[in-house]
Symmetry: C2
Subunit: 253 residues, 2 copies
């Protein structure tokens, strides 16, 4: 990043002998040869202005995000008008929320609550196959667009994001899982992403698998996937074959 310590270049800064012509970089203030020339002064100034403009935009957007973030209903439940219940866990407390927020964030909740369905009448939405902690994090995300993720939580929230069509949450979890991808997790993530229509994660996991084809059949997750979902294993091999054909065509073989 340019550090903007402007040094005005003067004629005396370069040598008369043209083999040794040097300029001083306005950004890092080091001397450089014509071979390492980057930009003229005008473009440097323009780029600085652009950078300042980007910084202002980022500041404005952050302040807008902060304004639009709602307090979690768990911190201030007094005005809530429904509860969510992790249906498999009868000992967990319910989680209070606002219809208006759920309707605004998820087309699935909208359909549930704006039509005269049971959830709308009873003010209780049962959520199947979810722990209290995951449901709590899910509701919090609907209010704040923030979640504290680890691998398990990212998977749980991605599933909820897919089920209730909260695209922003799904993308947030996919991004996290992609950032943590490695060969050890690649096959499990590939299968998981396929199951929940997380295309970006699936592509990223497939790319990691392609880089490790030599070790594929030795991987335990692979052996398990052959048993549970052989069609998906076929997809891996088809991608591998297509890549090999492409490479061969590029090399003119």
């Amino acid at each position: 990043m340019p550090r903007h310590r402007c040094t005005v270049y003067s004629e005396s800064d370069y040598d008369d002998d043209d083999d040794n012509v040097t300029m001083r970089c306005l950004s890092c203030e080091d001397d450089y040869d014509p071979d390492d020339a980057g930009t003229c002064k005008e473009c440097y100034d323009e780029a600085n202005e652009t950078e300042e403009e980007f910084k202002r935009q980022i500041q404005d957007l952050k302040s807008k995000v902060s304004f639009l973030t709602l307090a979690s209903p768990l911190d201030a439940p007094s005005t809530t008008d429904l509860v969510l219940l992790p249906s498999g866990d009868s000992f967990s407390p319910s989680i209070p929320a606002h219809k208006a927020v759920l309707v605004s964030r998820s087309p699935v909740f909208r359909a549930m609550l704006e039509n005269d369905m049971e959830e709308s009448r009873s003010g209780t939405i049962k959520i199947a196959d979810v722990s209290y902690d995951a449901l709590r994090a899910f509701v919090n995300y609907l209010y704040t667009a923030e979640a504290c993720l680890d691998n398990q939580m990212a998977c749980n929230l991605l599933v909820l994001g897919e089920k209730y069509q909260v695209k922003h949450l799904k993308a947030y979890c996919e991004k996290y899982l992609i950032s943590k991808l490695n060969w050890e997790k690649a096959i499990v993530n590939f299968a998981f992403a396929h199951q929940h229509n997380a295309n970006q994660l699936q592509d990223a996991a497939l790319a990691v698998i392609m880089e490790n084809m030599d070790n594929l059949t030795k991987n335990e997750d692979y052996t398990e996937l052959v048993e549970t979902n052989p069609r998906l294993v076929v997809e891996i091999y088809e991608a591998y074959l297509a890549k090999q054909v492409n490479t061969a065509a590029t090399l003119g073989l």
Copy 2:
């Protein structure tokens, strides 16, 4: 803004005669002299990476803003739990809203609604001295962080932003009014900003007045301000005097 059409510089691009050494700018692709040198290639590449990173951040923040934006309660009033009423206008319809949103956006509404005050019990908040249109725009802003402004609406919303301590709205209106400032509006804006503690607008208006001191006493708004708020006129003269003293000191007079 750099246009990133990278041209690799080659030795032949500069002349052997050192009086005519030229480099090619990697951004605008024009040749430049050492006198117009901006940055070295490394800093140019770094600046490009920074720019890409800023663009990604802006994209992420915009998507977060879009996720956090709520539907206006005027479009979907079914789950609202209170109404706002422009108290001076008995023929206007009331405006539905959600306690949770009002509480989240304004400490004044929070105090009103979280303590057992009349507004909380009745579910009606009367707003004095405001038109239906301004109140509607105000409520919309609390849900969306957006408003369609002209000069009058910006003033109305700034007043509401100040009264209900919605800082984000107040700053938004100040920014708009500052962007439209000119000599014709400067005195009115200066007095308005003073009345509503809009410090940035007041400073900006004062700066415009300072640039037009020759015309000050001929201005009708000035004549009116002398009548209505002479203390504020004194502030203008004090600022003018301080500036003159400073200028004299700088020039060593």
